[in-house]
Symmetry: D2
């Protein structure tokens, strides 16, 4: 039984970690960190956990935490993990950081897009980008894993095989993504109020969203070339779910079967990636509450483009689920332990 | 490993049975019945089940089914189970009927409220009303269990201890209930369209809803007197969840502590009933996806009434979850097997 | 053309006043008060008003305002209007207060339920309770109108004719009300976040909600006796709409036709009250965006109770629409001017 | 007072025509056509119209209708208007067809994308494409107007000035569009059920949606070249609203001011087109219930692309509102008569 500490356990991603780990057979949460709710019962903050979790919230003391636990999840705003981590801590425990602090290898890119100084750039190289399906082996040996962003997980996995195999022109790649509102977090802000979000739909962060360089970097590794894309996120009135619709010009003349074979090459053995049947398109509801990514594509011969589509639950495969998947890999456990979550419908 | 057959597996309650049983360690679905989708892959009807369920839908042949399975769930419209069941079938298999056919002991009451003739009244007496927390021992020995309705489960469990202990005047009981839309089923009907339900709220079946006599009968047993109530259901724009707000005059002068002690007497050891802390009121979201009933109450000294409130997920504790709980009891398994479902939030 | 000033024009009720008055032929807004957004363009706060309203927000200076306008609407939190109003102001302008400050005649009741000291009790007697259908003549001559609450407007109008005619036992009256979320205002609070409200349903303020004494007072006048009720509000995941379901025992043996005749006696000539056809029940969607109250009832001979149901748009008939209706009466204009709003569906 | 007949008045677009025309000073509906509800009171089908519309539904007899009315709106499925129209009818009355029958000039393109034979191709040339802002003069003299589609109205108006001025490379144009569910109509179909749409998001008609050739044709006229695009619609859980996010490569080096000047050149005097302030992005809620199109754009120097965004209410500017705008033009009335609809928020 490994011991788990969560810093930021009362945000939505943190709460999803709690939900998932509650059903994990080989892990036990011993530290429910939450700066806002120190000493308050966790189940008073998240009442779904009444009679399930019997523990009070703790502060952010990562040094103390490192002494007590085998792995720390940081589900906190950008900058916090980088400001707390040090060699002493990493010598005692593993860290899975759900923030962006260690996702981007070029610190100047990080600082430019995030607008903050990186407080521990010395660990960036060591950190492994925790997209399990792509970096599985590296994750296994990591002390510090940078858990991918929600949009990025969906966007990268949807395009990865085609980028890797070089059949799409990366300079034409456009990612139009739509997200439910839990991705905006639990902060009490006007734009997140029910009446502002409900019956509304909007783009935001156009040409400036922070997940852009993360997608570019990873698809750059895949394709072997520098990638610059348009990424446009949208807010949609629902709790959970991300849908990425991606457009790229084809470099070769390919059939449905050709492309399907490429997806199968990378994903046929992946438990959490479901390449759908021909003409069935991803819908977020079919993956809700689960760690699945549903993917499909359509070739448009009129424009010589391919439209790739992917759907995830932003809090599971896009955050907590993938973090647990990383933990399972890091500790040599069954990769799917705790993640056999059947999507809930309706 | 017991073998399970489901008649009506492609309705919402049936699909929830599939979701839950997929995670059950000692049961295996071998028959996915669905008159509408015979021979179609189940995962083509419910795409959340893609790569999880690999089976085609079957017809309603209960005789054949009885030869193959240990227990049959009928998640079908009123009248079907009663028209199919017979002694031969019951001698071979157990039946858990999610319809209303065997819930009401007085066949004339059933026929009046449901407007159909009962096709097998000879089994009504034998059938056990499967409200596990109240009829646990009877369920254990049953061949035929009448799984309670969604509104009724919530309404009865919320008032039961006070009815049983005689502290409320049953002639004053009013149940005002609100439900999400999955309770209306998956039929393609105009009133269930998104644009008709969304941003809308309405009462329906006022003074005539079929769950009324079921609540009356069960609370009659509890209180030892004939009970006649007002029950008013409402449709609310959400997928899952029932909230029952119940009003009754107090027969005695009681304190919060008195009433809390009564609830605890009946529910303190019940895993799936959570009597909340003082001043915390039930909300449907905190039980979503789980088998919990959340209950609390408020005494109003100004009117000498008590307001009792209960919340469930209508598809779980209000249908499939309770049906599995009944199955677990009938087969001597851990009552909570397959039902350790943590509520999903948000 | 009368000149209008709004204090609190950037809350939801204030914004609805702006929407409605924009289409009013004889009134013109000259003061968009908003403490939070002073000097900011109104259309930057409510972008629906882009190219419609060209004015900046002003502060709460009621003295200055009184010199400039014919009528002031105060769409502000409890206590503000009472703290600002004085004889000098009322000698220059009329006030329609959308807060609760002048709704309740007994100042001790107000202070007990609202938990604040009343700053200008000397105007309570003068203030007219602006439920137009009931107090029309008094409103016409008023300087100070207390605009009714949203729940109360719906609850009172639904029961009023039966209370007035003495056919229901007022001691048995129970009001179970459900509201959309705009009633909670535009404050950035955790419980109002999209992810907390969406797919959720909850009671709140059980036995303690502030609209209770307001309903009791008005129905007390109608029935000629002291009225004490249970009033239970619920929050429902939609923007607009209140549905009140009310229960009372019948004092006489009445038929559908008897009761219909009573409703018609009071409402047949009322433009904004629609008593529905037999068996058609109120739904909030059918009144959305309009000033209508839709009402119907059902007699239950089994329990000798009548169930009365009413639906309004909380921001229109429950706030801004009724305020404009009051203004029209106070200035001798067509009562429906600016209020010919056709409900929007879907 | 002109006399109006509506064929298909009980679909969502037809009902929106009724809502809008109810407030029109110079038009009066005398024929509420509805094949499904002949002889039924219109206000029994759309109860928002109770006590507002007092008329029964009529059949589809266009010959009779032509004798009685000045203008016929056909808000019907594809093919119906083309099958009914003839020279005799057009000699007596004007027709505004909300279906696609007369939108596309090349009949073979129509027949290929819609999969039906065109029954009156002889009127295609005469028909005017009723996008008022672009074809205003032609609409004024038309007998037969093809009212544009919902997606197309939004997609075309958003890109039109840049296509017309030749600053974008039309071969790179991609339109990613998102729609509320009322666009799917009022048919009782499984995919439109509340529980299937709510908390879900999906693409559909990828590379095959019928609005594609309509956008291509109109933007082809604007740019003076053959246009072939990718158009991807998505379904979003809300009643009303379309958001189009459009991507194209810039042919010239342009600044924000350059592009803003182009938009202003075409739209500064257009009442119903609002080009937003810099950095304010369109949101569907800000136009809900109104005839506005809100538009803005963002230049991305990293990719040399421009992202154009537009938002409309699909039932108003995307259907009924634009149809009334066309009617106003055809009859020489104020173009905005009946359309001074202030967007409703929240």
């Amino acid at each position: 039984m490994i011991k788990v500490g969560i810093i930021g356990s009362t945000g939505y991603a943190g709460a999803e970690l709690v939900r998932i780990l509650t059903g994990h057979k080989e892990a036990e949460i011993v530290w429910y960190g939450s700066r806002s709710y120190v000493d308050k019962q966790y189940a008073d903050v998240y009442r779904n956990m009444f009679q399930i979790v019997d523990a009070a919230c703790m502060d952010d003391n990562m040094d103390e935490l490192a002494r007590q636990v085998d792995v720390i999840f940081t589900a906190t705003p950008q900058g916090l993990c980088a400001s707390l981590v040090n060699e002493d801590i990493l010598s005692k425990t593993k860290i899975i950081d759900l923030s962006a602090d260690f996702r981007i290898k070029d610190v100047s890119v990080y600082e430019k897009w995030y607008g903050i100084e990186h407080k521990s750039p010395e660990f960036i190289n060591e950190a492994v980008y925790g997209l399990c399906e792509i970096n599985r082996d590296k994750v296994k040996g990591a002390r510090l894993v940078a858990n991918p962003g929600c949009y990025t997980t969906c966007s990268i996995l949807t395009a990865y095989p085609l980028a890797k195999e070089g059949i799409i022109d990366m300079s034409t790649l456009i990612v139009d993504a739509k997200s439910g509102t839990s991705g905006a977090g639990r902060g009490a802000k006007l734009p997140n109020l029910f009446c502002e979000v409900n019956e509304n739909m909007k783009p935001y962060g156009v040409a400036t969203h922070r997940h852009t360089p993360e997608i570019e970097e990873q698809l750059g590794y895949a394709s072997g070339e520098k990638v610059v894309i348009n990424f446009t996120p949208h807010l949609v009135p629902m709790n959970r779910g991300i849908l990425a619709t991606e457009y790229a010009s084809l470099k070769k003349d390919v059939t449905y079967e050709d492309v399907k074979a490429i997806y199968d090459k990378y994903y046929a053995d992946e438990k959490f990636v479901r390449v759908l049947k021909e003409n069935e398109l991803p819908e977020t509801k079919w993956v809700e509450g689960s760690n699945y990514v549903d993917i499909n594509f359509k070739i448009d011969p009129r424009t010589n483009r391919i439209i790739m589509m992917g759907a995830i639950d932003n809090l599971v495969k896009g955050a907590a689920g993938q973090a647990v998947q990383n933990m399972n890999l890091m500790f040599g456990m069954d990769e799917a332990e705790g993640l056999n979550l059947v999507p809930m419908f309706p």
